[in-house]
């Protein structure tokens, strides 16, 4: 009992009512048709994907026809016409069209025009959009209303393949930008917007952010310079809560610092990225419980200037001091406000050789910003050397977003952020995270995406580099790697096992450094360093 489309045309209205339940039962008895379009299926129409192009065309023409008919004052729809089973969409459309009469000339004249005008979607490579489907090159039919601008051709979007098309379109757009072909890029960006809507979940979000970033690049509307630092702190706080990346960073760095301090009586930690100070309670607790009792703990926090001149650093310091008092650790805090790490030098921090402290320098996601400033990173590494630290812990994103070629940077970023969004998607649902947290985390990542793609020069601060690149840099600056021990590895593995999405997160050890990734892709790397010349 196959569904026969022609059956619909010959049935009379009287039978229409009784035929539909029969047909419905017939459909239910059939095995689910893999080729049926999902979006239509939701509405109750079963349309084969292979027929979609035809259906789309005819719907377009029907719409045009109805519009013109209305304008003429006559309403064919109010006639005593026979309406066939609307669930049989192609047949119904055809029957409606035949009511309006033949408009002629729509039998799929394919255009042999091979010149691509600037907004031609055939520029998208790989045949993803324009496969062998000649029907999509339909000729617009003559409309009696001159005011109608030529409507865009109906592009058939099969949601199952749309993901692939979306990626292709994104890459094509980036390539257009690379070649400075802004008109094509403009058209493609709009197309991305349409395609993105048909997706769900991580793919949709990633596509939306990248499309926005590309649009900014094309129209040269650069994002306003760094939002209020308090706002970006809040965003990072949500990122801390939602995903294990920052927790991993903090725990592994703390372990390295703890081991480097050994039994020292006075310790001094210099934090390049204080933010809300989430890293330090755990370290203080570990110091409090070490055999022999806690040392005197001094923390120097460096942070950017606040827009409203409030002393955020001091507030964080005060909270940490309260915590330290609660657990019985002698604590001292000093905050330094600096718009860039390059403005800090060792003398300010009072870490001269007269001090008998063990010094640790900690930087989480801060060093890469210095790469936008010529000579910045060298200056900071020199300052670090002057501080004479026992250990330097560095946590950075594991990706190369600092290449010279825009297209390569774009592709790298697309893979990297897709992976992160995937991980959030898989683990976010089961974590019990509030939607607010997830959304803020996505905004946090979206800002990074925008910076990598849309900005240039000094404004582009998200210049991530890979671990080998950082290794080269640190070695040439006079640092020697310190292996993060098995303790750090075990703690990190356990921490990740606690996350419900734990089957996706992977901790890897890479020549003494620890990397946290999702599935096969490493996303952040923690490394520890000490000065080569021992004193």
């Amino acid at each position: 009992m196959k569904r026969d489309r022609d059956l619909g045309k010959t049935e009379a209205v009287a039978d229409g009512g009784s035929a539909s339940p029969g047909k419905a039962m017939m459909w239910a008895a059939e095995p689910p048709d893999a080729g049926v379009d999902e979006l239509f299926a939701v509405l109750g129409y079963k349309v084969k994907s292979s027929d979609m192009a035809e259906v789309a065309e005819k719907l377009e023409q029907l719409e045009m026809a109805m519009v013109t008919k209305m304008e003429d004052g006559a309403s064919a729809l109010s006639n005593d016409t026979v309406h066939y089973n609307p669930s049989d969409l192609p047949g119904w459309v055809e029957s409606m069209l035949s009511e309006f009469g033949n408009f002629g000339g729509f039998s799929g004249e394919s255009s042999s025009n091979l010149i691509f005008p600037n907004d031609d979607l055939r520029a998208i490579p790989g045949g993803a959009i324009f496969s062998n489907n000649k029907q999509s090159d339909n000729k617009r039919m003559k409309s009696s209303s001159p005011s109608a601008a030529p409507p865009p051709r109906p592009v058939v979007v099969d949601s199952q393949e749309a993901g692939v098309r979306l990626v292709h379109t994104l890459m094509a757009c980036a390539e257009a930008v690379q070649q400075d072909n802004m008109k094509l890029a403009d058209a493609l960006v709009k197309h991305i917007g349409i395609l993105a809507v048909s997706q769900v979940g991580a793919m949709r979000k990633v596509a939306t952010y990248f499309a926005e970033a590309l649009a900014r690049k094309i129209y040269k509307i650069y994002p306003q310079d760094a939002l209020e630092t308090s706002y970006s702190d809040v965003l990072q706080m949500h990122f801390y809560e939602t995903a294990p990346y920052l927790k991993f960073a903090h725990f592994t760095a703390n372990q390295a610092i703890l081991e480097a301090f050994g039994g020292a009586n006075r310790v001094h930690v210099i934090d390049f990225s204080l933010k809300q100070g989430m890293q330090w309670p755990a370290l203080m607790q570990a110091l409090a419980l070490r055999p022999g009792g806690p040392p005197a703990f001094r923390l120097t926090g460096i942070g950017p200037p606040q827009a409203d001149n409030s002393d955020a650093l001091q507030q964080v310091g005060w909270k940490l001091a309260q915590f330290a008092e609660t657990i019985g650790v002698e604590f001292e805090f000093r905050g330094f406000v600096a718009s860039s790490l390059a403005h800090i030098d060792a003398k300010m921090l009072e870490t001269g050789p007269g001090n008998s402290e063990a010094v640790a320098v900690n930087s989480v996601f801060e060093l890469h910003c210095l790469l936008s400033m010529p000579g910045g990173i060298e200056k900071v590494l020199n300052s670090i050397k002057e501080m004479n630290p026992k250990i330097v812990t560095i946590v950075e994103q594991e990706a190369n977003h600092n290449g010279g070629v825009f297209l390569e940077r774009f592709n790298e970023a697309l893979h990297y952020y897709s992976t992160i969004f995937d991980s959030l998607e898989s683990s976010g649902v089961t974590q019990g995270n509030s939607t607010e947290n997830l959304v803020m985390t996505e905004v946090y990542l979206g800002r990074q995406i925008c910076n990598v793609v849309a900005c240039e020069g000094a404004e582009r601060v998200e210049r991530h580099e890979t671990l080998p690149q950082w290794r080269r840099r640190m070695s040439s600056a006079g640092f020697h790697p310190v292996h993060l021990g098995s303790n750090a590895f075990k703690q990190a593995s356990m921490l990740l096992a606690l996350f419900a999405g734990g089957d996706g997160y992977r901790v890897e050890e890479n020549d003494g450094c620890l990397m946290l990734g999702w599935q096969t892709r490493p996303l952040i790397a923690t490394s520890a360093w000490r000065l080569t010349a021992s004193e």
């Binding site: 989430m278 309670p281 607790q285 409090a288 419980l289 009792g293 909270k319 657990i327 096992a497 419900a500």
Partner: protein, 165 residues
């Protein structure tokens, strides 16, 4: 007649032999110490005395660390300062243990019989610190935290939800 006397005598004997556990708190505490967390919760509902006993932090300290050998030094001051053993257990220890156990033994073995490792203690304590810091110190000023949601800070939200492993 003889039967009635016997009955009365038996009743008196029963009364003498009746044993009320509430009169023997040390025994009661020893018993409670050996229970698992759910049973302690149930016990807390019995009467006011039992409820007060189960709130005693020493009981929860025993629950947290009874499988750990040797018991950790100096932890008590820290834990008590940060909210007590009962909170440590509910917020950190129980989820940590149950999830790691599931990961390892596929959920078959009873987690109670496991022996803690040093790392798990450290991890639980670290998470407990994060919890305290966020809840108590950052709670007021954090971005958009709903006041009704104050029971669990968001950083440890991943521990609160049951895991579908």
């Amino acid at each position: 007649m003889v039967q009635l006397n016997e009955i009365v005598d038996n009743a008196k004997a029963e009364k003498r032999a009746k044993f009320c556990i509430n009169d023997h708190m040390d025994v009661l505490i020893e018993i409670l110490k050996r229970l698992d967390d759910r049973s302690i919760g149930v016990a807390a509902c019995v009467c006011r005395l039992w409820c007060a006993l189960t709130r005693n932090d020493a009981l929860w300290e025993h629950l947290c660390f009874r499988h750990l050998s040797p018991p950790p030094q100096g932890v008590r001051t820290v834990v008590v300062a940060l909210g007590g053993y009962r909170r440590l257990y509910t917020v950190c220890v129980k989820p940590v243990l149950s999830r790691l156990e599931k990961m390892r033994a596929g959920g078959a073995a009873e987690w109670e019989r496991r022996v803690w490792t040093r790392h798990e203690v450290e991890l639980s304590l670290s998470l407990f610190c994060v919890d305290y810091y966020e809840r108590v110190l950052l709670g007021g000023g954090g971005g958009g935290r709903v006041s009704g949601d104050a029971a669990a800070p968001s950083s440890l939200m991943f521990l609160c939800k049951a895991v579908n492993v």
